[in-house]
């Protein structure tokens, strides 16, 4: 599909964005924790993706999503840098309603509430992780980045990236135990 777009099939980009939109958006949203900002950065990410594709800056190695997530990651860092410069750090001022998912529209109310509770609990878990561990977890899961790519992206050694993931998993398991959470509906 990437090749199709590069070769001039303009409809291919819509297919590509639609295929990856949920993972890219969720990655941004969980990192930035602000719905409006996440939507802006989501748009910026794909505009940059399109510009880069048009400019021949993408080498197709079958890892399109990882590449998009890396672009999103850089834009998030740019955003935080700008915000820091402006000294108006307020990334938590507009909590998003993650529960209003279309996928749940056919569920009964009881199931909806349980889903909402689970999501809310998971969101708390993720947000309790130190930022460097959360970053590795989200890059790995939503972007499918290898640890080598995560190391490059976050400017650390592979061992550090692996270590952060290890600690993140230990912390998540510990938090689940401590809070006695059940992550399934039934």
């Amino acid at each position: 599909m990437v090749q199709a777009y590069i070769k001039g099939d303009h409809s291919a980009i819509e297919v590509l964005i639609n295929k990856h939109r949920s993972k890219v958006y969720t990655y941004i949203l969980l990192t930035i924790k602000n719905q409006q900002l996440a939507e802006d950065l989501f748009q910026e990410t794909f505009i940059k993706v399109i510009q880069s594709l048009r400019g021949g800056k993408y080498k197709d190695n079958g890892k399109f999503l990882s590449w998009v997530i890396r672009i999103a990651h850089n834009l998030i860092i740019d955003h935080f840098r700008k915000e820091k410069q402006m000294n108006t750090l307020s990334n938590d001022d507009s909590e998003v309603d993650l529960f209003n998912s279309k996928k749940l529209s056919d569920s009964n109310i009881e199931e909806l509430i349980i889903h909402s509770q689970i999501k809310s609990e998971i969101r708390v878990l993720i947000n309790e992780l130190p930022d460097d561990q959360k970053e590795v977890v989200l890059l790995r899961h939503y972007g499918g980045l290898s640890f080598k790519e995560i190391a490059e992206q976050t400017d650390v050694s592979i061992n550090t990236a692996l270590g952060r993931m290890r600690y993140a998993l230990i912390n998540l398991r510990k938090l689940i135990q401590e809070k006695n959470l059940s992550l399934t509906v039934y």
């Binding site: 939109r21 996440a38 989501f42 794909f46 505009i47 998971i122 993720i126 398991r173």
Partner: protein, 59 residues
């Protein structure tokens, strides 16, 4: 009675100085990925078609 010390016994092919063995790491990664799927998949959030249309209008 002859005592055989196992302290310096060397297993063929095992190099204790080489810490770059990938097998345990790969196993850990698989388990970790499975665990992350369980935790993070429920949080997957669809921004909707409208946002995609907005992008396409801008380009």
């Amino acid at each position: 009675m002859v005592k055989v010390s196992t302290l310096f016994h060397r297993v063929d092919g095992f190099d204790e100085l080489n810490t770059s063995s990938t097998i345990p790491v790969i196993l850990d990664q698989d388990l970790g990925d499975q665990f992350l799927e369980e935790i993070l998949n429920p949080l997957l959030h669809d921004p909707g078609e409208q946002l995609v249309k907005t992008i396409l209008e801008k380009i």
